[in-house]
C-alpha cells in the first residue's frame, strides 16, 4: 500500500492542471477527478455501504479544484495515521526523481511537467502546514532539503514552474530547516517551563510555542527531598534524564559504576506514584500540576513521599480578593489565547494518534491541558482557603461573574474550567456558602451548569459554539474527545487501502480549530502596575491539586451536618 504514490500518480495532472500546458476544460477535469479518485483512495467499508456513493456526491458538489485542495489538506494533516512524515516525504522525493528520469520510465513526455508540479503543490502545502515544527524532524528536513535542491536544479528548465519555485524558496527560508551539516544555533535560551525557574518578567512576556529541541531546567528529587537541577531537551527520554542525574550524583567516578540503577518516578501531591519507562519521551509536560520527578532505586521506591505542599497564603489575602472579576477574566482569556495559539494544529492529530507511528511532541497541547486543570484547582483552592463565610460567598459570586465574562469573551476554556472548579465536590458541598449566593447568581450558575452538561454529547455547548464567530477559545478537552471518538470509531486501513473518509473527518475537525483562530483576539487592557500584578497572578497560580486535602479544608470550613 502506497497511498501517497497512488495519490501522485493519479492526481499528478490534476493538481497541476491549473497551470499545466495542455489542461482541459473544467468538465473534463472533473470527470477524471472522480474517475481516478474513487478507486485509488476510497474503499467501501463493509459496515458503511453508502459511503462510496456519498463520497461521489461530495465530489460532484464541489468544483474539482477545491475538492482536490481539500483532499490534499486532509492527507497532509493526517498522513501520520498511515505513514511517518519522513516516509511520506521520501515518496514525494521519489516521484520527483521518477519524473526527472528522461525519458520517464512509465510516463509520456507531456506528463513530466504536470507530475513535477503535482509534487511541488503537495510540498508547498506540506511546508505551509508544518512550518516551525519541521525544525524538530531532522530526517524530514533532510528530505525536504534534497528535494528542494532537485527542484532548484530544474528551475531553469521549466519556466512554468517559476511561481511555485519562488514560493518554495520563500517557504524553505521561513521554515529555516535544520539540517545536520549546518551548525546548531549557539546557546539557545533556556525556556522557563517549571514555576521555580520562571521569572516575573518572563511570565509577563507573550508565550511562544515550546519545541522538542528547547532546553529547559528541571529539578529531580531524591527520596530524602534533596534535588539536583538538570538542563535537558524538552523531548529528552527518561533514560537521558536519568543519565544526567546519575552523572551529577555519582561524583566519584570509580565508585559510580557499582551504584544501583535509578528509576524515574512522578510523585503527585497526593502521594500517587507512577514509574516512567526509560524509553518515554517528553515527560515534563505530562506531569500533573503539583507532581515532581523523583530518581530512586527499586528499593527506595516504596519510601517515596511527596514534597510538602508549596502553597503558603495567609487565608483570604490573595490577589483574587483585591481584583475585579472583569480584570481576572480578561487576563485569563488573554493568557489562554496565547497558549491556544501556541498549539500547532498537528499536535491535535498527534496527541490522539501517537503511539501508532513515530511520535512528535505535543508539548503545547499538553501545557494547555495542564493549565485547564490548574484553573479548575485554582477556583477550588481559593474558595477553600477563604475562611470567613461572608467573604467566601462573595468569592463564589466573583467566580460566577468570572465565568460569565469568559463566556462573553468566547473563551470557553476558562469558562468550562471555572464552572468545573465550582462543581468540585469539595466546593459544591459548602451548603452555607452556596445559600448566601444571591438568587440572580444562583440562576446564572444553573444556566452554566446546563451549558456544560455532557448529556446528548454536549449538545448545548456545541449549539452555543456554532453561533460564535472567531476568535474563539474552545474547550480543548472536548476536541480531543471528539478526535478520539473518530479514531476509535473506524479503521484507518481497509484491505490495505486508506480510509479516506476517516482522514477527512479528522481533518475537518482540525480545520474547525483553524477557523477558531482565524481572527486575532484583541482585548483592551492597560498596562498599569496593578494590571501587571494581576497579569502575573493569573499566569502563576499556586494551587492545591490534592483532592483529599481540598476535602479536608472543606470539612474544616463547614463540618457535615450530622
Amino acid at each position: 500500500m502506497k497511498p501517497l504514490e497512488r495519490f501522485l500518480k493519479k492526481q499528478g495532472s490534476h493538481l497541476a492542471a491549473r497551470a499545466g500546458p495542455g489542461a482541459g476544460g473544467p468538465l473534463q477535469r472533473r470527470q477524471s477527478v472522480s474517475r481516478i479518485l474513487l478507486p485509488a483512495f476510497l474503499k467501501e467499508p463493509p459496515e458503511q455501504p453508502a459511503m462510496e456513493a456519498a463520497d461521489g456526491r461530495w465530489l460532484e458538489l464541489r468544483p474539482p479544484d477545491a475538492a482536490l485542495q481539500v483532499l490534499l489538506d486532509d492527507i497532509i494533516l493526517t498522513h501520520s495515521l498511515f505513514q511517518p512524515t519522513d516516509r511520506f516525504l521520501q515518496q514525494l522525493h521519489h516521484h520527483f526523481l521518477m519524473a526527472s528520469g528522461s525519458p520517464a520510465p512509465c510516463w509520456e513526455e507531456g506528463e513530466v511537467l504536470p507530475r513535477k508540479q503535482a509534487v511541488l503543490t503537495v510540498l508547498l502545502h506540506f511546508l505551509e502546514t508544518f512550518k516551525g515544527i519541521l525544525q524538530e524532524d531532522e530526517s524530514a528536513g533532510k528530505v525536504i532539503k534534497d528535494l528542494y535542491l532537485l527542484i532548484m536544479k530544474d528551475a531553469s528548465l521549466y519556466h512554468e514552474l517559476e511561481d511555485e519555485i519562488l514560493k518554495l524558496h520563500q517557504l524553505v527560508e521561513t521554515v529555516e530547516l535544520k539540517v545536520t551539516e549546518e551548525t546548531q544555533p549557539p546557546n539557545k535560551q533556556v525556556k522557563p517551563l517549571f514555576r521555580h525557574f520562571r521569572r516575573i518578567d518572563s511570565c509577563l512576556q507573550t508565550r511562544v510555542a515550546f519545541r522538542g529541541s528547547d532546553e529547559i531546567f528541571c529539578r529531580v528529587y531524591m527520596p530524602d527531598h534533596s534535588y539536583v537541577t538538570i538542563r535537558s531537551r524538552l523531548s529528552a527520554s527518561v533514560q537521558d534524564i536519568l543519565s544526567s542525574v546519575t552523572e551529577k550524583l555519582q561524583y566519584s567516578e570509580e565508585q559510580g559504576t557499582r551504584e544501583e540503577a535509578l528509576i524515574l518516578v512522578a510523585v503527585a501531591s497526593s502521594g500517587e506514584k507512577a514509574v516512567l519507562q526509560p524509553s518515554e519521551e517528553c515527560v515534563f509536560t505530562t506531569l500533573g500540576i503539583n507532581s515532581h520527578l523523583f530518581a530512586c532505586t527499586k528499593e527506595t521506591f516504596e519510601s517515596l513521599v511527596p514534597l510538602p505542599e508549596e502553597i503558603q497564603v495567609s487565608p483570604g489575602d490573595t490577589e483574587i480578593h483585591r481584583v475585579e472579576a472583569e480584570d481576572i477574566a480578561n487576563h485569563l482569556t488573554a493568557f489562554h489565547w496565547e497558549l491556544f495559539r501556541c498549539i500547532h494544529e498537528l499536535e491535535f492529530v498527534d496527541y490522539v494518534f501517537h503511539g501508532e507511528r513515530g511520535r512528535r511532541e505535543t508539548a503545547n497541547l499538553e501545557l494547555m491541558l495542564q493549565r485547564c486543570s490548574e484553573v479548575q484547582h485554582w477556583v477550588a483552592t481559593e474558595i477553600l482557603l477563604c475562611e470567613a463565610l461572608g467573604k467566601r460567598a462573595h468569592l463564589l459570586k466573583k467566580f460566577v461573574k468570572i465565568a460569565a465574562i469568559c463566556k462573553q469573551n468566547q473563551d470557553m476554556l476558562s469558562f468550562y474550567a471555572v464552572v468545573i472548579g465550582l462543581n468540585n465536590a469539595a466546593v459544591s458541598r459548602l451548603r452555607l456558602t452556596w445559600e448566601k449566593l444571591p438568587g440572580k447568581f444562583k440562576n446564572l450558575f444553573r444556566k452554566f451548569e446546563n451549558l456544560t452538561d455532557p448529556c446528548r454529547n454536549h449538545k448545548t455547548y456545541r449549539e452555543v459554539l456554532t453561533k460564535m464567530k472567531p476568535p474563539i477559545i474552545p474547550f480543548v478537552p472536548l476536541i480531543l474527545k471528539d478526535l478520539t471518538f473518530l479514531h476509535e470509531g473506524s479503521k484507518t486501513l481497509l484491505d490495505g487501502l486508506v480510509n479516506i473518509e476517516k482522514l477527512h473527518s479528522i481533518a475537518e475537525k482540525v480545520r474547525t480549530i483553524r477557523k477558531y483562530r482565524s481572527r486575532p483576539l484583541c482585548l483592551e487592557m492597560e498596562s498599569s502596575p496593578s494590571q501587571l500584578q494581576t497579569k502575573a497572578y493569573v499566569r502563576q497560580f499556586q494551587v492545591i491539586d490534592n483532592q483529599n486535602l481540598l476535602f479536608e479544608l472543606s470539612y474544616k470550613l463547614e463540618p457535615s451536618s450530622q
Binding site: S226, T229, I230, S252, P308
Partner: protein, 199 residues
C-alpha cells in the same frame, strides 16, 4: 501549608569553577572528582542534631554563572547561613564575591548576626596560588565574617568548614532571640554553644 520551619538552610555562593559543588559533595557524600559539571541549583539535605532535637540541614549549591538573579535573591532571603567561596588560584573569583556579599547585606540587613564563612578553596594548588591566605583573612575582617582555606580535593578543612559555620549560628541565634531578657539570652548563649554538631 508553610514550609517546615525546622530546616536550617545554608547557601553556597561563588564564581563558576571555584569548587562549590566539590566542597558540598565532599561534605555530603565524601567524594571528589576531577571533571567539571556546571551547577544550576542543587540542594542536599542532611539530618543534624540541634539543641538536643533533630533538624534538617539544607545545603543549597548555587550556580557560578550570573544567569538567575531572581533565584539568587530567593536563596538569600530564605537562607540562614552563607558560605562564600573563591579559589586561591584566582584573584578574580575573590573580586566576584563582592556583589554577592553586598546583596546579602542588602537583603538580610544585619549581617553581623548571620553566619557567613569566607572560603578560599583549592589550597592544594600551591603552584598556581594568586591569593595569599592573609588577603582572605583581611577580607573576612572587613566583612566581619569567618575565614578558612580548604581543599575539596584533599579533603582538607571541609568538615571543619561546615561545623564552624554551624558553631557561628549557635553563638548568634541567641543574640537574635526576640523574646527573653538579656540575662536569659546570655545564659542560653552559654548553653547552646557548640551544641549543633553534624551527625
Amino acid at each position: 501549608m508553610p514550609e517546615q520551619s525546622n530546616d536550617y538552610r545554608v547557601v553556597v555562593f561563588g564564581a563558576g569553577g571555584v569548587g562549590k559543588s566539590s566542597l558540598v559533595l565532599r561534605f555530603v557524600k565524601g567524594t571528589f572528582r576531577e571533571s567539571y559539571i556546571p551547577t544550576i541549583e542543587d540542594t542536599y539535605r542532611q539530618v543534624i542534631s540541634c539543641d538536643k532535637s533533630i533538624c534538617t540541614l539544607q545545603i543549597t549549591d548555587t550556580t557560578g554563572s550570573h544567569q538567575f538573579p531572581a533565584m539568587q535573591r530567593l536563596s538569600i532571603s530564605k537562607g540562614h547561613a552563607f558560605i562564600l567561596v573563591y579559589s586561591v588560584t584566582s584573584r578574580q573569583s575573590l573580586e566576584e564575591l563582592k556583589p554577592i556579599y553586598e546583596q546579602i547585606c542588602q537583603i538580610k540587613g544585619d549581617v553581623e548576626n548571620i553566619p557567613i564563612m569566607l572560603v578560599g578553596n583549592k589550597s592544594d594548588e600551591s603552584q598556581n596560588r594568586e591569593v595569599e591566605s592573609s588577603e582572605g583573612d583581611a577580607m573576612a575582617k572587613k566583612w566581619k565574617c569567618a575565614f578558612m582555606e580548604t581543599s575539596a580535593k584533599l579533603n582538607h578543612n571541609v568538615k571543619e568548614l561546615f561545623q564552624e559555620l554551624l558553631n557561628l549560628e549557635k553563638r548568634r541565634t541567641v543574640s537574635l532571640q526576640i523574646d527573653g531578657k538579656k540575662s536569659k539570652q546570655q545564659k542560653r548563649k552559654e548553653k547552646l554553644k557548640g551544641k549543633c554538631v553534624v551527625m
